[in-house]
Symmetry: C2
Subunit: 211 residues, 2 copies
């Protein structure tokens, strides 16, 4: 039965519009799309502040991992490292729960790896630097006034951490096209224009899979 | 005017079905698709044997390039090297001629780089090893009875040469997703099923471009 579900995962470079694509596919397929909802749920169920969970979930887990260079140092890192790992595990469990519940779209969080047993359709969304910067500026949280250089630094950092997070779960590499069914460059096209055709493509893929 | 043309380029791993996709898009758009036709034209116009041109056009140009390790050696390599380069130049000119004539689809031969001034829509088609081997076996030329190992060696060799050929023309890398507008993994889907949606996607892209 698991294989009759429509599970779509969207991995994406920061600022490339993966979330927008997720929401649009969600509308077309009439199935839920989970992105920040995962963070919100962890915050709610575990009694954390949502911003804190969001922050910790984008942390580089590897660097937060306790190092064995003396007892003092381990203790100093321990709390943050433990939290980052704890949140990563919670994320994985919630993603598994969503998929168990039914068809859905998951944006980010290495859902393509976590949900492998469902044989999901895996999309990677990417764009050039300028377009991503533009998009980030347009959608910046209220009060965030980063310079272009700072924003670029943030973009790089987040993508690096996403790749690092993925490397915890699997040997295949984040962003390597072989890992995905379709890689979409959003540098020169509005997502709303192409979303219907991506949906039709994905739908056809599931039809062949279920045939 | 040049920018109102529909120029689609399809780069592809050997055996991934790029040619089939090209032919199907050609039917949908009602525009010509050039692949082996380029080889045939060079053979015809230059009075070569078609198989010879096909063979030389897949040669690794870099290794055929004359090396300066003594006069003897240069002379020994010269004829084949010259021919490979001559054919590469003829290929480029014919591709430019086709694009100048009107809307078209070009499969392979680094047409995405050669036709950059037209801002073509650039597709990359790829698949996993097993699927490519299967496809190569199904479409093997009459009389070709390669073992799986030999076929794999041929696949690798041809793809390597395609990458090398491209590196003559540009710094961007063959197969790197950033270079293309859409990267399509044909490992788990029949091309005939998805071709209509790719066509619709590409059509929408040109509509936005021309708007």
């Amino acid at each position: 039965m698991e294989n009759n579900k429509i599970i779509i995962t969207i991995s994406r470079e920061f600022g490339s519009g993966g979330r927008e694509l997720g929401k649009r596919l969600s509308d077309t397929f009439g199935i839920p799309c989970y992105d920040k909802e995962i963070i919100a749920l962890i915050a709610k169920e575990d009694g954390f502040d949502e911003n804190y969970v969001a922050h910790m979930s984008e942390k580089k887990i590897q660097s937060a991992y306790p190092l064995t260079i003396g007892h003092q140092f381990i203790t100093a890192m321990n709390h943050e490292a433990e939290q980052a790992i704890k949140i990563a595990i919670r994320q994985r469990k919630i993603i598994e729960r969503f998929a168990a519940q039914g068809s859905c779209i998951i944006v980010g969080r290495s859902a393509d790896v976590i949900l492998e047993k469902y044989s999901p359709f895996n999309i990677f969304v990417y764009a050039n630097r300028e377009v991503k910067l533009q998009r980030c500026k347009a959608y910046a949280p209220v009060g965030e006034n980063l310079t272009t250089a700072e924003l670029e630094q943030k973009m790089r950092e987040i993508d690096k951490n996403r790749a690092a997070y993925r490397s915890f779960l699997t040997d295949t590499k984040w962003g390597e096209k072989e890992t995905y069914h379709l890689c979409i460059n959003t540098s020169t096209i509005e997502i709303k224009r192409i979303a219907p055709y991506i949906a039709a493509y994905v739908n056809e893929w599931f039809k062949q899979k279920q045939a």
